[in-house]
């Protein structure tokens, strides 16, 4: 397979670009924020469902499009470009991937159609500590007569508020990290939300003797670790795709500013001190494009080295988005640090995105460990 998009994938990307420019541009992000950090635009999610984006990674047996993660990645990239707020990552890329790769047929047939048609949505609950660490799960799922009793706390749950159910990572009696589907209305759950740097709302959940039925277990015994790993890799790669779009937008706006802004009687883009920094960013972005497409293809092809690809992507994008967003701020000068222009939104969102599902340090270390050094 060539490292490029095919015609259908290109068409999807173009239509996503057009649709979002018309229906969910950065101005919508500003409006939502100014409206007391409103989570989503009410009309957008049904329209996204209408576009078929929630069906891209759903198999045909559930009436999905089975179009693949390269396709979903193109949409997420365009959403990143526009800072579009919609639960596509949380409900489809994370929750959906967990379900699609589950062997629990009952759970799949009841939930997949609902998340695909947008009537219900899922949120993925893994983090417990201040940093991403899938090996340090303390939430427990104790076996009971009817099923399981969930106890523990979760944080940084993306789009957690308003979700219909949570995909919860918890330790079984056997000490295995497993995935469970927990209805949000279950007794014993308390939810608290924080607005973070990116004006997004993230949930902290507390589970106190939350009883769920046996058939709510998503991962079959012995397969919890590999399913969790797949969801984490998917999250890292899909977030990388979203970050790619943010990097493109921030860089393009910065280059445009260098071309038009005049100081000392010359356009500032003529100064070599800025030219060389811009050119170096261009090079790093070329690398980012390659690793994102390779990793998305890796998801579709279920590559054996998916762990490596996911960590390469998230590490590289994490490194580059930091450079590009910092340079975007510096090169915009005073106007860049005002709330009047949009460039600061990219800077703020970049720090949250690069933290989610493992930051630069986490993934660089994971890559070195995978390579056995």
């Amino acid at each position: 397979m060539a490292f490029i998009l095919n015609e259908e994938q290109k068409m999807l990307k173009d239509s996503a670009n057009e649709f979002l420019a018309a229906n969910a541009p950065v101005e919508q992000f500003r409006t939502l924020r100014d409206n007391n950090y409103e989570a989503f635009d009410a009309n957008l999610w049904p329209a996204i469902v209408e576009m078929g984006w929630t069906a891209l990674t759903i198999p045909e047996e559930y009436n999905g499009l089975d179009f693949g993660y390269v396709g979903l990645g193109q949409v997420l990239e365009e959403m990143g470009r526009n800072l579009t707020k919609a639960p596509l990552l949380s409900s489809i890329a994370l929750g959906g991937t967990a379900l699609v790769n589950s062997t629990n047929a009952g759970l799949k047939s009841s939930w997949i159609p609902e998340i695909m048609n947008g009537t219900k949505r899922l949120a993925f609950a893994i983090d417990e500590k201040n940093y991403f660490d899938p090996t340090a799960i303390e939430t427990t799922a104790v076996t009971t007569a009817e099923g399981y009793s969930i106890n523990g706390t979760k944080k940084m749950v993306i789009d957690g508020a308003g979700a219909d159910a949570y995909v919860v990572v918890a330790k079984t009696d056997e000490g295995e990290s497993a995935l469970f589907l927990v209805d949000a209305a279950s007794k014993g759950i308390t939810i608290q939300t924080d607005v973070l740097l990116d004006a997004g709302t993230y949930a902290s959940l507390s589970f106190e003797q939350v009883n769920i039925a046996k058939n709510q277990r998503i991962s079959e015994p012995g397969k919890g670790k590999s399913l969790l790993n797949l969801v984490n890799n998917t999250a890292a790669i899909c977030l990388s795709a979203e970050m790619m779009g943010m990097i493109h937008a921030a860089f393009e706006q910065t280059v445009a500013y260098l071309q038009e802004r005049t100081q000392f009687g010359k356009r500032i883009g003529s100064y070599q001190a800025l030219q060389h920094r811009a050119a170096k960013m261009f090079c790093e972005i070329e690398l980012c494009k390659s690793v994102v497409i390779t990793a998305l293809q890796g998801l579709d092809k279920q590559e054996e080295n998916l762990d490596e690809l996911a960590s390469l992507a998230k590490a590289k994008l994490g490194e580059t988005i930091k450079v590009v967003s910092n340079e975007a701020m510096q090169m915009h000068g005073g106007i860049g640090v005002t709330d009047d222009v949009n460039i600061g939104f990219y800077f703020k969102r970049s720090r949250v995105a690069q933290r989610l599902f493992g930051d630069y340090n986490y993934h660089l270390d994971r890559y070195a460990s995978l390579k056995q050094y």
């Binding site: 490029i4 050119a279 070329e286 690398l287 497409i293 660089l364 890559y367 070195a368 390579k371």
Partner: protein, 397 residues
Amino acid sequence: METTTKTDLEDFRLETRRWLEENCPASMRKPIKDSNDYFWGGRNAIFNNEDQKVWFEKMLAKKWIVPYWDTQYGGGGLSREENNILTQEMTRLGCRKPLFSFGISMLGPALHKFANEEQKMRFLPEITAGKTWWCQGYSEPNAGSDLAGLQTKAEDKGDHYLVTGSKVWTSYADKADWIFCLVRTDFDAPKHNGISFLLIDMASEGVSTRPIKLISGKSPFCETFFDHVKVPKENLIGTLNEGWSIAKYLLTHERQMIGGVGETDQRRELHDIAKDHLPMKDGKITDTVLRNELAVQDMNDKIFEMTIQRIMDEAKTGVNAGALSSFFKYYGTEQNVSRMELMTAITGSDGLVWEGKDKDAMNQARLFCRSKGNTIEGGTSEVQLGIISKRILNLPS
């Protein structure tokens, strides 16, 4: 139709594999270690051993010295797909190139694009037969990064040009048969508009060379002097005073070559070398700072490889990758320099040996020194960044 082609290509692959296995001597499948392992051809061609000769002659008879050039010029006439297969199969077996030649990698593409048919028939078959060793006369003592500021002049003397001046960094000028040269033919025009592209026989009266010693020790680089050298007019390639466009075209090829595009990386992975040299604990390099630097290098090496592949794939669909040669040159050489810096850190005091019993260690110190030239030759990193900012990002002058 499509399936027939695919079957044909599969047949070609199998045939090629069998032919290479039968004809490439075992010693020609070992990685290149030193300069004796290269065969450069030329008027006074010297084979360093019998296998080198056998391998060259077999490939010559097969017309695979330049497999993708037209047969009328002595090429093999292979399609792009067939040539890719041949390259893949040679890489798979580890076959060395039978001939190293700037005639193939640099001058050839320029002649194909800019020379007239008579010139092509005169020079290209000599390249494919390995009969002419070409060198490149671009830089001058006062025209390095500012290449277009070159001052070597070619005066019109009716039936010939009279060339006077000097060139620097001419690789193998002391061994080469011919030189392709940028000369000034109009001193009144703006500097880019008075340059011409001239081919000069190194055996001409008035040509002399002097080797340059680098910080790494020996080097193939020379200075080349032209003292009233008569050059026939038919040796001018392209249009008079329009040589700069040829120069730019050729530099694109040079940059990709230096940046390593199209070369298969047969070097050991850096972290594998590191594991041989550094203390480990629980499967991890104990020097955590160095481990981090290695991981960054590793990450960027891997992704740069993907990027070369991606851009070559895009080029096949018609996207013009020409302007990206500066990116390849800049990134590839910066990566190599940082790799050599890390190799020095990994190999510790052994890697500092300049003269001693351990030949590998000596080689490391010299390679390290040599790498410092990578981000300078073929246009400095700063020149490449300037090209990216102007031609790709359209930043103002």
